[in-house]
């Protein structure tokens, strides 16, 4: 029981990588992310889209991303890889 509580308390951490040039800037990942960690980039990518950008540092301890993969699940262009741990 204690362990379980501990597990629950210990928030899962994750991070994502967005392949900038695969992204078509549809914005669905931004809508999907419960943590608000993705934004639209200002600069166009090679295909002329404004791609999504992950705003957190992969190594930061304080990152909000849980690695829930909701962003990747909705991404039509399979532009997002999700990591956990």
């Amino acid at each position: 029981m204690a362990l379980l509580t501990g597990d629950l308390l210990l928030k899962k951490k994750g991070f994502i990588r967005i392949n900038r040039d695969l992204c078509k800037g549809c914005g669905l990942c931004i809508e999907a992310c419960p943590k608000g960690t993705i934004i639209m980039s200002e600069k166009l990518n090679i295909k002329g889209y404004r791609p999504a950008e992950y705003t957190e540092n992969e190594n930061s301890k304080n990152r909000k991303c849980t690695g829930c993969a909701l962003c990747a699940i909705v991404c039509p262009d399979v532009a997002i890889e999700v990591f956990r741990g």
Partner: protein, 256 residues
Amino acid sequence: MIKQVFKRPDALKDNIFHYCPGCGHSVIHRLVAEVIDELGIRGKTVGVPPAGCAVLAYNYLDVDMGEAPHGRAVAVATGIKRCRPDLVVFTYQGDGDIAAIGTAETVHAANRGERLTVIFVNNGCYGMTGGQMAPTTLLGQTTTTTPGGRIQLRDGFPVDLSQMLAVAGGSVYIERTAVTSPKNIIKTKKALKKAFKVQMDDLGFSLVEILSACPTNWKLSSVDSCKRIEDEVIKQYPLMVIKDTTGTHSGADEGA
């Protein structure tokens, strides 16, 4: 330990999708690839792509594929499957393809209980040819051939092919899902997996109708397109299991 929890499925080639931003076809392609991976059937699957935006599906799905003329995918698939019952054969069809020009072929394949899995992408328009009215276009919806909106008297009602197919004796599993949210996407994947399994278990005809966004022709953002499905399209085409007789084995055993 860092581990990758989401990555490109193996059965999906590395090519970049030619689809528009936010297009539901892209998501559905990935789901099909994931299901093929998970069922471990890449080496015995044959797909039949349609004429439609997904005409180039073979650029993405890494399985054997054979083209069909517009609307005839299930007939082509029937030919394949009857000759090679050991293969897993699926068609991937748009709403125009399956519910307009391909109506007869689909109704009769379902009726014969062909061991096929049909992936029916309902985006309420003819995506590929520029957004004309599809059988599934909602009343009042503006398209390039219904500039004043679809009018029932001239253009007819939205067709519910899945319900019609449920009447067919050989259809075993028909479900309608959507790819509008993580939840719905996960459900869609489950439905696809089940549909493939129905075929692999030799039960009969299976079909998943997937409500899918066409932001380009709807002239909406990707996010608004998904909203439109959830707010409007679902009223006409509710998400539900339309038929499931897998428990009763109705497809496989009767009548022979």
